[in-house]
């Protein structure tokens, strides 16, 4: 029996082995192709390759904004997983459950703070995820000094991502719990610009099947970091960048509504009236982000659609306006896992077809950085001097400023190219994503984020003041309301009923024509000129000059300004209001760039230029004027003559800008402005000066505005003079000498070489 049973045993084993051999045959012969393909697929991955954004260059090709390579850490708070056949939202960070995050987010006010702080504490003390990630960052990033520092950084970025999640929809209604929880699955930028070593270490952990669960939340994406070499100097022009946000993605790609109906996207976003972002239909980009349905086990899952890997978009300035031109196009790239060295790490390399992202186009600006820098230095210097004067202390103290803000715009009068545009204070676009820094500039009372060249005073209205007078004079002359010989008598004050309308300091200017009225900035003359013109004609002329509408400069968020509506209709329009409008007071609101365009119109033969920053002489949309006035040369000369007197007349009564603005041996024209704003008690005066230079063949318009700076002649004239000198390279030798006065005792050759180099720059 034993022998028979050993035979039976042997037979059983033989059957077992032949079954296994059959199984092997099935796997290795019958379905081999299937597994080969599957294996190949597992060795490959599809990665969206981020393009680099075009650089912004100045007119001589120097980089104002450019990309540099970086690695960014992205985080996905939670993901959907099938557990025992059910789809569940699982947290990717050990101590954070989706429920606890949801609770903290929907709590109101202090409760929210308390709950977020609890989460933060929990993360700091109990999370292995935070601990391990912090260790890796500490080991590989030189700038992190201690583990506490590293942990703090990691946890703050996680909390930052949590607070980014919006719990309310656009209309302000709380989203449903499902929607909020679902948005936990969106990958968001956690840390920018981590080191290469950290990136490699994290990737090795993720490639290992046993440890990959640990860092499931993380996703390292190669990308680019935007660098602004000139920092504050160009901030208002270049602007800064950020990432596309969820609502913008929805606008681009569409989304599923609650009934699982696809709300189609527009494929483009328009911002400030200019194309901001467009995805070409049928492009790989559209493929990357479009919402889709995944069918699995007979069930449909509605996927909200992808995001670009590290899409950088402009958030202000040129970066925003020309975003569509600057941005590159994403493409898919197939990468293969290889192990170049048997003992080395495994790497993903570009497989087969080399396909690089389509990089963005470079953009050249009309700005000259050297000149911009000079203007900036002059402006800051002047503002410093002005702020030191005792008579300005009171207003500065009341505003809580240490120094005046100010703005200078230099524009070509013929084609609208902007050569310099400096608005102080400014901000550093390199640091804008640092929350502390951002908070500090948001809280700054001087509003550094605003470009005053296109925004005016920022706080409160920005009336034109006397700088409007050449425009009013031009209108009155052209309409025949006044002529070269029209004289009005100024007695320092004008009455309507018992209400006083005063001239500046109640000066008795006596009888004067339009040129002398401009010279001394006589209000009474223009009261009468405006009265002769009438409200309707006055306001429509001002509108034609471009006041009360955008100039079309290629910067977002340009302020429209304002002209009083009633003047157009004549309804409830009083003579007093007419008086005010004639001298640029009351409800007229003008930005420096509008003033520069209006002044250019007078001197360039009546062309309404479009101010622009993009340098492209062949682009007709930029360089052709919007329209043309038919001014008579006689009238133009009359106004130019009056503005010449403002700067050039030294004998009594002097021009308002003569004392500080006159340049020996160089003729230019201009008009000062001292615009009063605010109610009686808080009345402030904004100083401005708009100039055209040179007198004979006008080339540039220079507009300076110093909010709260009192009189234009006193505060802005010297500023504009120095800018004009810098532009036309006047008095170079003198400038150098004054710069180097304090270095007199230096050795002679050193001094010489320095003045040489400065001369070369000038």
């Amino acid at each position: 029996m034993f022998r028979r049973r050993t035979v039976i045993l042997g037979f059983i084993f033989a059957v077992g082995f032949f079954l296994l051999i059959g199984r092997l045959w099935y796997l290795q012969v019958y379905t081999s192709e299937y597994y080969k393909k599957m294996g190949e697929r597992r060795l490959h991955r599809l990665r969206p390759i981020p393009p680099s954004r075009g650089s912004i260059l100045d007119r001589r090709g120097r980089v104002l904004a450019g990309d540099t390579a970086s690695f960014d850490l992205w985080m996905q708070l939670a993901s959907y997983k099938k557990i025992a056949g059910k789809r569940k939202l699982i947290s990717n960070i050990d101590v954070l459950t989706p429920e606890s995050v949801y609770e903290a987010l929907v709590a109101a006010g202090t409760q929210r703070e308390i709950k977020l702080n609890l989460l933060k504490k929990n993360l700091l003390e109990h999370s292995d995820f935070v601990e391990e990630l912090s260790q890796i960052l500490l080991k590989n990033d030189a700038e992190i000094s201690s583990i506490e520092n590293s942990k703090e950084r990691v946890v703050n970025s996680i909390i930052g991502i949590l607070s980014q999640i919006s719990v309310k929809s656009k209309s302000g209604i709380y989203k449903s719990q499902r929607d909020i929880m679902h948005s936990f699955t969106d990958p968001r930028v956690m840390l920018n610009d981590i080191s290469l070593k950290s990136y490699q270490e994290i990737e090795q952990i993720q490639l290992n099947p046993y440890t990959k669960d640990k860092f499931e939340a993380l996703n390292v994406r190669g990308g680019y970091k935007r660098i602004y070499p000139y920092g504050e100097l160009m901030a208002h022009i270049t602007g800064y960048t950020g990432n596309l946000i969820n609502s913008e993605y929805q606008q681009l790609r569409g989304y599923w509504d609650d009934n699982h109906e696809l709300v189609p996207g527009d494929n483009k976003i328009v911002k400030s009236g200019h194309l901001f972002f467009e995805i070409e239909p049928g492009s790989e980009e559209e493929e990357m982000i479009k919402p889709r349905i995944r069918r699995s086990e007979g069930k449909d899952y509605y996927l909200s659609g992808g995001t670009f890997s590290n899409e950088t978009v402009g958030r202000s300035g040129i970066e925003q306006w020309y975003n569509q031109e600057l941005r590159g196009r994403h493409v898919w790239r197939v990468e293969k896992l290889v192990k170049p060295n048997p003992d080395g790490p495994r790497l993903f390399i570009n497989a087969g077809m080399r396909k690089d992202a389509i990089n963005g186009k470079n953009l050249k600006l009309t700005i000259d950085v050297d000149f911009q820098q000079k203007v900036s230095n002059i402006l800051n210097d002047e503002l410093k001097k002005l702020s030191r004067e005792p008579k300005h202390r009171k207003v500065l103290n009341r505003l809580g400023y240490d120094e005046f803000p100010g703005v200078v715009v230099v524009m070509n009068v013929h084609n609208g190219e902007i050569y310099a545009m400096v608005s102080t204070p400014s901000y550093d676009p390199n640091k804008i994503h640092d929350p502390d820094y951002y908070k500090s500039i948001i809280d700054d009372k001087k509003f550094p984020l605003y470009n005053r060249a296109i925004y005016g005073v920022v706080k409160g209205a920005s009336p034109a003041g006397s700088t409007i007078k050449p425009l009013v004079g031009m209108a009155a002359l052209e309409e025949g309301a006044i002529t070269a010989n029209t004289h009005y008598i100024c007695e320092g004050v004008e009455y309507i009923g018992d209400k006083e309308y005063v001239c500046m300091n109640r000066a008795h200017h006596g009888s004067m024509d339009v040129t002398d009225a401009l010279k001394v900035s006589c209000n009474v003359f223009f009261y009468h000129a405006g009265q002769a013109l009438g409200g309707k004609r006055l306001s429509s002329w001002l509108r034609d000059f471009g006041l009360g509408s955008v100039t079309g400069i290629d910067l977002p968020r340009e302020r429209v300004g304002h002209l009083p509506e009633n003047a157009f209709t004549g309804i409830r329009w009083s003579l007093g209001e007419n008086y005010h409008l004639s001298i640029g007071q009351g409800a007229v609101d003008v930005t420096p760039i509008q003033l520069a365009v209006a002044y250019s119109t007078i001197v360039n033969g009546g062309y309404k230029v479009v101010p622009h920053l993009k340098y492209d002489p062949s682009d007709p949309t930029l360089n052709y004027p919007k329209g043309r006035f038919k001014f008579s040369d006689k009238n133009v000369n009359l106004i130019k003559n009056g503005m010449w007197k403002v700067v050039q007349t030294g004998e009594y009564p002097r021009g308002t800008a003569f004392r500080l603005g006159m340049i020996e041996g160089f003729e230019y024209i201009g008009k000062t402005g001292s615009a009063e704003a605010g109610r009686r008690k808080n009345r402030v005066t904004h100083a401005s000066f708009a100039a055209i230079a040179p007198y004979d063949e006008p080339e540039i318009a220079v507009v300076a505005l110093i909010p709260y700076g009192d009189h234009g002649g006193a505060s802005c004239a010297r500023l504009v003079k120095r800018v004009i000198k810098a532009y036309f390279h006047l008095d170079e030798f003198q400038e150098i000498n004054t710069d180097h006065e304090i270095h007199q005792d230096k050795e002679w050759d050193e001094y010489e070489s320095e003045s040489d180099s400065n001369g070369a720059l000038g």
């Binding site: 045993l9 042997g10 199984r23 092997l24 290795q28 081999s32 099947p209 046993y210």
Partner: protein, 366 residues
């Protein structure tokens, strides 16, 4: 003492050599570092083989109860050590870590052989109680470690030895049903969640594609992409890119199948089968009743282990951690397997016939 001859069963020796040779060749491809370590273990194992061959197995049978108790103490003791990779399977000794569950294989085979050969009641139910008890108690301890893979070898071992010693089929069927009933409490009380997930993953790999089935799918990809002729030594993409985990231990068959292809994998399985049939052949014609049972036990445990390992790697069985005997890297397993083959050859030294059963006219026990 020298009532045994010096006959060497070349079938077993050659098939063992083929298996070890193929194993070493592909271990070098899978992981060179472990290959050199394995060569060292092979030297120690050769000593174990020689010892098994020379020592008279009857002495071991005589002291099998003492051996069993000794290993049993280790098996209890191992539960109080700190876990390595989540299991308390190793006792740390200077130089290497020992797995008492490996030793238990030999101890159990010897004890079962002693019990089953010393009384004649295998045909009754009462005769089956004692073998059942001595098997189930260490099995419980091994599952407690947990080491499901080794544990799963014991039931077939018990069945094979009881069966060959003359138990009734009916009784075996009853035991089998009882064993199946034992699965339920095992699922409820003994098995860990990850073990349950492995079985769930095996039954429905699509649902568990993330973690539990990772190894399984990688292993299938490796085997499947090997094709008929294989990708060549050192050329396996899944192997060389470390996508196949545990490739030097439990999943080494995946490496062999990917790089060697269907021919080599099948050849290896045939070599194993020859080894096992050779072992059963020795059992069949061994002169000593307990020796017969020891040979059956050894053949069975090696065969079961190969079937289990290859079954897991080809996703024919639920995932359990079990080494491929004679090939997977690992000192304890290697030494114990070689010692068992040594014992097998030792039993084959004294055969009751050389040429064939018809020509033999001597005493045949039972």
């Amino acid at each position: 003492m020298n009532d045994r001859g010096w006959k060497i069963d070349w079938v077993v020796v050659i098939s063992t050599a083929i298996v070890v040779g193929i194993g070493l060749y592909y271990l070098k491809s899978a992981d060179e570092e472990y290959y050199y370590k394995q060569l060292n273990w092979l030297l120690v194992s050769a000593v174990a083989l020689a010892a098994g061959f020379i020592i008279d197995f009857r002495i071991l049978i005589r002291h099998s109860f003492v051996i069993y108790i000794g290993v049993f103490v280790f098996l209890v003791g191992v539960l109080f050590t700190s876990p390595i990779n989540g299991a308390r399977s190793w006792i740390r000794l200077p130089g290497f870590n020992m797995q008492p569950s490996e030793l238990m294989k030999i101890a159990l085979i010897l004890l079962l052989a002693k019990i089953l050969s010393s009384h004649e009641k295998q045909a009754t139910v009462r005769g089956l109680i004692m073998p059942f008890i001595v098997t189930v108690i260490p099995l419980g301890l091994i599952l407690k470690q947990p080491d499901l893979g080794t544990g799963m070898l014991f039931p077939p071992l018990l069945v094979a030895m009881v069966f060959s010693s003359g138990a009734r089929i009916l009784h075996l069927a009853v035991v089998a049903v009882a064993g199946l009933c034992g699965v339920a409490p095992m699922w409820l009380f003994i098995m860990k969640e990850y073990q349950k997930n492995r079985i769930r993953a095996f039954l429905n790999p699509e649902l568990y594609s993330a973690r539990e089935a990772w190894q399984l799918i990688q292993s299938l990809i490796a085997i499947g992409s090997g094709g008929i002729y294989g990708m060549g030594w050192g050329q396996g993409s899944q192997t060389s890119l470390d996508l196949l985990s545990e490739k030097h231990t439990d999943f080494i068959f995946g490496v062999i199948a990917e790089e060697g292809g269907f021919y080599v994998a099948t050849g290896l399985l045939v070599a194993y089968l020859v080894l096992i049939l050779g072992g059963l052949h020795i059992a069949r014609y061994a002169s000593d009743p307990s020796g017969k049972l020891v040979a059956v036990g050894i053949s069975t445990i090696i065969g079961a282990q190969v079937l289990e390992n290859v079954g897991v790697v080809t996703a024919s069985l639920p995932t359990t951690g079990i080494t491929l005997p004679l090939i997977s890297y690992g000192g304890s397993s290697m030494i114990v397997t070689f010692f068992m083959i040594g014992l097998l050859l030792g039993i084959g030294r004294s055969r009751v016939f050389i040429m064939g059963p018809e020509k033999f006219t001597g005493v045949v026990p039972k």
